[in-house]
């Protein structure tokens, strides 16, 4: 079938640049990075293999361990914070609210802003000498303390606060679209049975939003692993190592400290983390699609 082959040829040619990007950029550079992580590369790549030495060095580094702990705390609180607040906002907006579109606009606009902008705004609000704390004290509340960005124990929660402010609107949009897609019949049935509204949201609506919320959660979680901009803008990893995150650790060692082997080892660990986190989810999706008998 020469004609068919010719047609498929155009499609194949059209996909060549993407093949190039996928194979050379995505696979090739990743393989190169992983290879570097087993060498003693510092400023320049070296071909002296040192086995897992960079990995042992990595996990002996207090800064790396702190960054893992921080990203875990940030990730759990940020994702759950966005999901809970986003769902509550969506449920509230679903209740025949006046000015619904105005509220929706207000809740979503931060999502249009970059993490750099978000970090800088909240750095300013939480500035202890000039921000909210100073304002509350000047109003007569002398003991008011909101010094999260400069407090070692609280700085990570300052990042969570800014992150939830930026991301909750995304969950709200997705949840609201999901809620509006649920059949009215279920509402009628539940109301006739005299089930209170909040129970309907928790027991009937929430389970049906599961897939949509899971997708939103995934999206946010992917962002967590990449978390870099907001930290650089808001705290730059400080005070001490209180807000150090893996993505920043890797960047610092890659370009600042010229510690290529250690940085690529960190990046490899990060990729492994993503695979471990995503694999069960993709597998579940795959199985569900198989069960449905579709693609």
């Amino acid at each position: 079938m020469p004609v068919k082959r010719k047609r498929n040829l155009s499609a194949t040619i059209a996909l060549l640049p993407t093949w190039f990007a996928a194979v050379v950029v995505f696979i090739g550079t990743m393989a190169w990075s992983i290879r570097l992580s087993f060498t003693n590369s510092t400023l320049f790549p070296s071909s002296t293999y040192v086995g897992f030495a960079q990995y042992s060095k990595l996990f002996a580094s207090a800064k790396w361990l702190a960054s893992l702990q921080n990203v875990l705390i940030f990730g759990v609180l940020y994702v759950s914070g966005c999901l809970v607040l986003g769902f509550l906002l969506a449920a509230a907006l679903d209740r025949k609210i006046r000015l619904e579109s105005a509220f929706r606009t207000i809740f979503l606009y931060p999502y249009a802003m970059s993490f750099v902008v978000t970090g800088l705004i909240w750095q300013w609000m939480l500035n202890p000498t000039l921000g909210i704390q100073a304002s509350m004290r000047s109003l007569g509340w002398e003991g008011f303390v909101l010094d999260w960005v400069v407090n070692r124990d609280m700085a990570i929660y300052a990042l969570v606060l800014a992150g939830v402010w930026q991301g909750a609107g995304l969950v709200m949009v997705i949840a609201l679209a999901g809620i509006r897609g649920i059949e009215a019949e279920q509402w009628k049935a539940a109301r006739i049975d005299g089930i209170p509204v909040w129970r309907i949201y928790v027991s009937i609506i929430l389970p049906q939003l599961g897939p949509a919320l899971a997708a939103a959660g995934m999206l946010l979680a992917m962002g967590v692993i990449k978390t870099y901009d907001i930290v650089v803008a808001m705290t730059n990893g400080g005070p001490g190592n209180a807000t150090e995150v893996p993505a920043k650790f890797i960047m610092d060692n890659l370009f600042g400290r010229q510690n290529l082997g250690l940085a690529t080892a960190g990046a490899t660990v990060l990729v492994l983390g993503v695979i471990i986190a995503v694999a069960p989810f993709r597998y579940a999706m795959h199985m569900r699609n198989q069960a449905k008998g579709g693609a």
Partner: protein, 294 residues
């Protein structure tokens, strides 16, 4: 039954539940608006006024000098030219990167869903995997590779990087869109003798205009808001606005000029905000499409 039904008429009576609901919404709205309000009022104050430490107070007089300084005189380290150059750099990076990535994404989605050449599924799987993996693992080899072909620290280089890293999302969205286009349309055109590109330009691209708009908006805000790739690949002369903003705010020597910082922050956020406010409906649709199917 004094609780309102979601599909029923608006409730006539004010109940405790309604009051609680509106209290929650208004409190949430205040939380979401407070930072924007604070930025705007801070940018209009003088430094003397800022030192009083009343972050929520309205400015005594409307003073736009901080905005002028932020635009054309703010310092990044020792260079004091304002954020203006970053603005134009961001435009020069974002516009071509969006146009190219949306075009390639549309072609990919069309080829993958309606032509399915050999290896289409493998390519799609690869792209999706690539989209999930943190950028950090790609960066160093990419820097070396770009340096070898002379594109490192260049405008073309940063545009290329954005196009490459945008491929997973744009391809996904267009593929999901074209999958829902009836295959008969494509087959009929083929019977009439139209080839791959003719079907694409004359039938599929016009059909996909709504998706083109949505994907362009998502890509535009994404690339405009990027920090990491611009920092690594753009080079000193092409630094996007986000990187310059961070340099202005976080590397300034001496006393920080918070009013200028906040004006610069607003200027950096204003383009994506304008897109969102002017076409929120499309923005929302794009987010929902990108998220639910991702």
């Amino acid at each position: 039954m004094n609780q309102p039904h979601p599909n029923g008429p608006k409730p006539a009576r004010i109940t405790a539940g309604r009051i609680g609901l509106y209290t929650f919404l208004v409190a949430a709205a205040l939380f979401f608006l407070l930072p924007l309000y604070t930025m705007v009022v801070t940018s209009l104050k003088s430094m003397d006024e800022i030192r009083l430490g009343q972050i929520f107070a309205l400015p005594a007089t409307l003073d736009f000098s901080a905005w002028v300084t932020a635009w054309s005189g703010a310092c990044m380290g020792t260079v004091c030219v304002g954020i203006r150059s970053g603005f134009w750099n961001s435009v020069a990076i974002t516009v071509p990167a969006v146009a190219i990535s949306v075009f390639i994404g549309a072609v990919n989605g069309y080829a993958l869903s309606l032509w399915r050449p050999r290896g289409a599924n493998a390519l799609f799987g690869l792209l999706m995997a690539g989209g999930l993996i943190p950028y950090q693992i790609f960066l160093y080899p990419m820097v070396r590779g770009m340096a070898n072909i002379g594109l490192y620290n260049s405008l073309a280089g940063i545009i290329l990087v954005h196009v490459i890293f945008g491929l997973p999302l744009v391809t996904l969205l267009f593929r999901n869109y074209f999958v829902s286009v009836p295959e008969e349309l494509c087959k009929a055109a083929r019977v009439d003798g139209a080839g791959f590109w003719r079907i694409f330009f004359e039938i599929m691209l016009p059909i996909a205009v709504p998706m083109v708009v949505v994907v362009s908006m998502l890509q535009f805000t994404g690339i405009w808001n990027d920090f990491l790739l611009g920092l690594v690949f753009a080079g000193r002369d092409n630094l996007p606005m986000t990187v310059q903003l961070n340099n202005i705010v976080n590397t300034t020597m001496g006393e920080r000029t918070y009013n200028v910082n906040m004006a610069a922050t607003i200027l950096t956020a204003i383009v994506p905000l304008a897109i969102y406010f002017l076409s929120g409906r499309w923005f929302v649709r794009g987010i929902a499409a990108g998220a639910v199917k991702g």
